[in-house]
Symmetry: C2
Subunit: 520 residues, 2 copies
């Protein structure tokens, strides 16, 4: 067994089942090893940002670590933007990057780059392998580190992959995710009882079904409000679950929402901060006089802590019905499409148990409020703000959940960054419907320009926010995806229903008016 | 005048004329400033790798620093692969990256990333601005640093862009690029005369017309051979210039070419090393017993040094005719296309004064040997091995040389990494013909797999090197580029002639047999 095989065996032993790959010459022994070791499905992506975004989507849905196989420094660089989103989502990802042999790297060949430097920007754990006999241990350590909810990067020089290696070490099983002890629960209990208008802010793993129901019990017992962080990695939603208000993107709206509370218990969520720091602030979205306490950090198993808290509060085993959303759907709108109607058409027709990836940026703002009463579904959002998450995340989510319909709410500008993901969707026959909000504009930048005082963009600003001339139907078909367009609610409804009835990837370009009015 | 305006004014004063941009919220004051300061053309690219690849192509052709405007850490990460190519090409690029205000960054908002860490992987110079009054000086320093032949990265926090700033400082004019003094010329002279079979290896700026003619004079005087580095940033070529043998990609072939020489004078070129370090080596392509001497380092003005050396050798003012390529073109081949015939069709029809970007990887190997006698043209190659250079580099080259036909020899796999460049080509109406070598395969990896001992790839290796299902005609049209396909020499010739006769972007998908036989 060579070093590459020992790595792949260790990956399999550690629970890795899928490898999203864009390999090159320095990873070829690993490619060959994927042919000799059973149990890991290799998925080719034509750009590394697709690999890492898919790994993120996969691991968010599968709850298992995903593997991305990338080529040297440039490959890692191309994958970094979506690793950033994964880092913010606390997603367990093992990134394996080949490197030149050390004896060759010191000659500074053309493709040499400071891989370790690049990796440190997004990795919570990283290691450059030095001994072929220890590669299995290195991989096991990487998986263990990833399971902590972070990106673990393993740099594997080519020569170590080809050398003979020993037997793989036994990988230790996943430890119990940290939970909050009794003392901490007592503290939170006292904190909640000591304030008049507390809110429970849920994020990270505190948005699972079990955590949400525990949160509803807590509300039942003490009357606190339930809020969700602005950009959840994975949130369960729909009828039978509490309808959480999400903290808005713009800081003024967020502070308006939060101003009435005197205390916040943060479960799996970070303290809310502004997405961008504008000229007159704010940075933190909480005032100094608003108290805060952490029940469980992001990436930790907040569900257990919430259940413990509910029990400490003496909450009923099942929350009252009025605290949970009842089944409801909007009716089908009619006539020419706009962003709001597009969201309503989807909400009217969304199938049971869908996985919805939301990279809709501006036009999707209407979707969330319409969906509290839909049949249960899972929502994945843009945790780190790096564009190009949607098409790639959908690939991974569908690989993890082949029996669930994956729906990508996709802004046209953001979708272009990882448009290559459509090819993998087609090649793997993934059951994904991509809804492109085609407003032919970086609308969010127009809104931000207006906030900056530029209400009528000059010719350069207009040119730098104008996306005219992208035919998504042609792009989708060029990569093998069944693609159509819709300019009315009726056509969108028909095409959506067709895409939901058929298996496999579909794309619908939703032709929207340019420059939707969104008040900054 | 605010800080953003002072930066843009300083850029203009420093000779920047084009800004390839993919801005976000933290760069909006700079966007607004591009509307108030005249003289810098802003070009939108839909992915940051297009911005940086275009900046590379522009600066290689214009001989002026290019500017790329990127959004925070993720934007810089997306642009890093092509900045790596630019670094290897010693291209002067100023990369401007917005950042959160320092007071906000310390709150670690979602898009925060270690920008400086990322930047250090490719930047020869970098600075994070700290005072709005010094932004103009910072930009002037960045331009001066870039003019040394490197990537200079300026990180500009948002708040500094919006604050009032002083007058821009006067930017010092470009200094004379370093040249080799008399003493060094004497040394090289003695070195050349002291060896029986010397070769002059030309690279970097030693591949300009003037440098090439000086090299031919040197050959005339002392009989040395003339070689070119494997991947030149910019090489002039065609009738009336010496026909340089390029050092091959694979190390065995390279060492075979180089083995007969006892000494190498390196002008603008690095000592040749293997592209990849295989199991049994080699690393360096030169043996210890082969002497070597540097006439001018990469990025330096080697042409002057070559002229000085020619004069010190008492070379004739004009080299003998037999040392220069005479005019010649291959005839038009006929019948079904393959890689070799595709290159021949282009060589038969290539217009005068073309700029040829070569990211053809495997199928373009036949192009170079066919082109020594063509009408003079410029060749730009993949200096750093980061895929996705071609479509982006062509954008920049065409912006720099609007009156020259730009031809992108594009491998299909590599082209997918920056396929978004086609949109900018269409929007800007750039006069580019993209020739896609569609072999639907990462052929280079199949060759490398065979070198690794895998002559019949297993199912995973086959799947990870198979690119079936990309319709480039549809992709091109989806972004507004006139796109067609050709399966025969006759159709390719007709479509090529049409693309050369018309202005504006064209794409021709050349349908080639799969898996061209290339001996490892």
């Amino acid at each position: 067994m060579n070093g590459a095989e020992s790595i792949i065996r260790a990956a399999r032993a550690g629970g890795v089942e899928v490898c999203f790959a864009n390999p090159g010459t320095t990873e070829l022994p690993l490619v060959a090893a994927l042919d000799t070791v059973e149990g890991i499905r290799a998925v080719l992506c034509l750009f590394e940002g697709v690999c890492t975004g898919a790994a993120d989507g996969y691991a968010r849905m599968a709850g298992k670590p995903a593997m991305a196989l990338l080529h040297l420094g440039p490959g890692l660089a191309n994958g970094t933007a979506n690793l950033h989103n994964a880092r913010r989502a606390h997603t367990p990802i093992v990134t394996v990057v080949g490197d030149h042999p050390a004896w060759h790297r010191k000659l500074d060949p053309p493709l040499a780059m400071e891989i370790e430097t690049m990796a440190s920007a997004v990795s919570g754990w990283q290691r450059t392998c030095t001994t072929s006999g220890l590669l299995a241990r290195d991989m096991a350590d990487a998986i263990a580190a990833a399971r902590e909810g972070q990106v673990a990067t393993l740099v594997v020089p080519f020569d170590l992959q080809t050398e003979l290696s020993g037997s793989p070490v036994q990988v230790t099983r996943e430890g119990e995710a940290g939970r909050t002890g009794h003392r901490a629960i007592d503290d939170v209990l006292a904190f909640l009882r000591g304030h008049a208008r507390p809110a429970l802010v849920l994020g990270g793993r505190a948005l699972s079904r079990g955590a949400l129901l525990a949160a509803a019990r807590i509300r039942n017992a003490c009357g606190c409000s339930l809020l969700a962080e602005a950009f959840p990695a994975r949130m369960e939603r729909g009828a039978g679950l509490p309808d959480l208000a999400r903290i808005p993107y713009f800081p003024e709206a967020a502070m308006e929402m939060l101003k009435g509370y005197d205390a916040f218990v943060l479960a799996g969520a970070r303290e809310p901060v502004a997405f961008f720091g504008y000229r007159d602030g704010p940075g933190s979205l909480l005032r100094d006089d608003q108290a805060r306490m952490h029940l469980a950090g992001p990436g930790r198993d907040a569900a257990r802590s919430l259940i413990s808290l509910a029990e400490a509060l003496g909450a009923p085993a099942v929350p009252s019905d009025e605290l949970l959303a009842g089944p409801s759907r909007p009716g089908l709108p009619q006539g020419p499409l706009d962003g709001q109607k597009a969201c309503a058409v989807l909400a009217a027709l969304q199938p049971v148990n869908a996985v919805v990836v939301d990279e809709s940026i501006t036009n999707g703002v209407w979707y969330y409020p319409l969906t509290a009463g839909l049949p249960p579904f899972t929502l994945l959002t843009l945790t780190g703000g790096s564009l190009g998450q949607g098409p790639a995340c959908a690939v991974g989510a569908s690989m993890a959940c082949p029996d669930r319909k994956v729906i990508d709410l996709q802004a046209d500008g953001a979708g272009m960054y990882t448009v290559q993901a459509l090819w993998t969707q087609a090649q793997e026959g993934l059951d994904i419907t991509t809804l492109v909000f085609s407003n032919r504009s970086y609308d969010i930048l127009k809104v931000e320009l207006a906030r900056h005082g530029v209400r009528v963009p000059g010719p350069v600003a207009a040119r730098l926010t104008d996306l005219a001339g992208i035919d998504w139907v042609s792009l989708g078909r060029g990569m093998g995806v069944d693609s159509t367009e819709a300019g009315t609610c009726e056509v969108l409804a028909r095409e959506l229903e067709r895409s939901f009835a058929e298996k496999g990837p579909h794309l619908i370009q939703m032709n929207l008016p340019m420059s939707t009015e969104i008040t900054p």
